[in-house]
Symmetry: none
Subunit: 246 residues, 2 copies
DNA sequence: AGGTTCCGTTACAACTTGTTACCTGCCACT
DNA sequence: AGTGGCAGGTAACAAGTTGTAACGGAACCT
């Protein structure tokens, strides 16, 4: 796929330029926008793969805009906000946002989210992606995200710990993309309430990966799915099939 | 009773978030809303036990909204306002508000009022109670909240203790949401008249959960419904179907 | 009174998960 | 090739969390 084109919508000039700059340095094409009108003109003018939308958009309301866009377009949207309360997050999801990230955010985390959403959008033939998607299949395995049930190719249930399941979800969300340790770490800590200042703590990720490998790789010594990207991080190199569930 | 669900209506984002946060920390489920439209959508979408309504609601008028809601719904309403003048208060009561509190208010006072109103609403055989759903179905089980009857998937009646039933209600009210121990504890103690200062007493919740599991989980060692959210609390991960009764 | 049930506390075992330390193998550079 | 450095795998450990058996007090019933 071509370089993803992102639209950065924020009414604060500084935030806007900071964000676009960061995203451009990260290899994306990032376009700034300030208002709903600008969003629409961009959408009409050319391809936009993802919109980063600030919830507190001056007089306008990001959530409202998101809801409207969602009824008309199929552009993935990540809501950005200073409000990290759960209810806000829920409100965001309810109007169809693909993800939600709170300011101030960890740049790595933002990157991870952006990549994940782009990946999902690419995979789904339409905007079929709903948060409902609950069952993933990959290399014979099946993973029910809702129940946390992991079934081996032979159909036996395998017990993963909480953290291992979360790690698996992270990889399932971004197959075929090398993920840096910081990205993984950030993505994992999204789940956690505490969400400390993303302290890159030692080699916890390595251990986690090792433990997950020992459970889902046929030969953990020679991982086929959860491979190492030396000098970078890890990469989940298996096709993932997502299945809607009731 | 389940964790009370409060709707916080205020057009000031900061107040809204402050209020919802405080109420959530106090063991309630607090949802934010900004306009009359949002109130209505929340009311249609799910159970709301109490509305905290700001009198000065931007262009709209809180008192008017209150009056209208009162003619249609039976939700308890507490009016919140910067105006503590008597006539305002009177106006509030006249339109049927259950209580009236002036900003800036003492958090403890607010809590006390909220609890008091909830208590009244519960006790009165009013319409609120009548509309209350009484039968829950989840994972093959059925639970008649009114009678406290719990039927297993095979149709056998299972005897739960009082406290176990209350715990079950708490979870039934908030499926798929991780609940912290303090939240559960607070929710259980809302029920109790005494309502001590929400002392987090040891591991009573753990025991309670364990006992409930042993009664309603097929394999208590491997809970499918009442799962633990490590480092957080517990989560009831089953779809709950609610059935109107009488 | 005696028994029963409920329920919170305590204690301990099992499990999770991050850290440290050591080892191995890869890679770059002679 | 040889070699040194370094990234990554993993065993061992430590700290924290949870499940649960056992205990005991309180309320209730007969």
């Amino acid at each position: 796929m071509a370089i993803p084109r992102l639209l950065v919508v924020d009414d604060d000039a500084e935030t806007r330029s900071m964000l676009t700059q960061f995203l451009q340095q990260s290899g994306f094409i990032a376009l700034p926008a300030e208002s709903e009108a600008e969003i629409r003109s961009h959408l009409e003018a050319g391809r936009i793969d993802l919109i980063l939308l600030d919830v507190m958009l001056g007089a306008e309301n990001g959530i409202k805009i998101c809801a409207q866009l969602r009824t008309e377009q199929e552009v993935p949207i990540i809501l950005v906000s200073a409000l990290s309360q759960d209810h806000q997050r829920m409100a965001g999801y309810e109007v169809g946002a693909d993800d939600y990230i709170a300011k101030p955010f960890n740049p790595q985390l933002l990157l991870a989210r952006v990549k994940a959403v782009l990946q999902r959008a690419r995979r789904s033939p339409s905007l079929v992606y709903r948060r409902k998607t609950a069952i993933f299949r990959f290399g014979g395995w099946s993973f029910d995200a809702k129940r946390g049930e992991v079934l081996s190719p032979q159909g036996y249930q395998v017990a993963l710990s909480q953290r291992e399941r979360e790690l698996l979800k992270v990889f399932l969300a971004s197959p075929h993309i090398p993920l840096k340790r910081e990205e993984i770490h950030a993505a994992l800590d999204v789940e956690r309430e505490g969400a400390g200042p993303t302290e890159g703590s030692g080699r916890a990720i390595d251990m986690l990966v090792g433990r997950l490998r020992s459970k889902i790789e046929a030969d953990p010594k020679e991982p086929q799915m959860l491979r190492t990207a030396r000098g970078v991080g890890y990469i989940f190199s298996v096709d993932v099939e997502t299945e809607e569930a009731g």
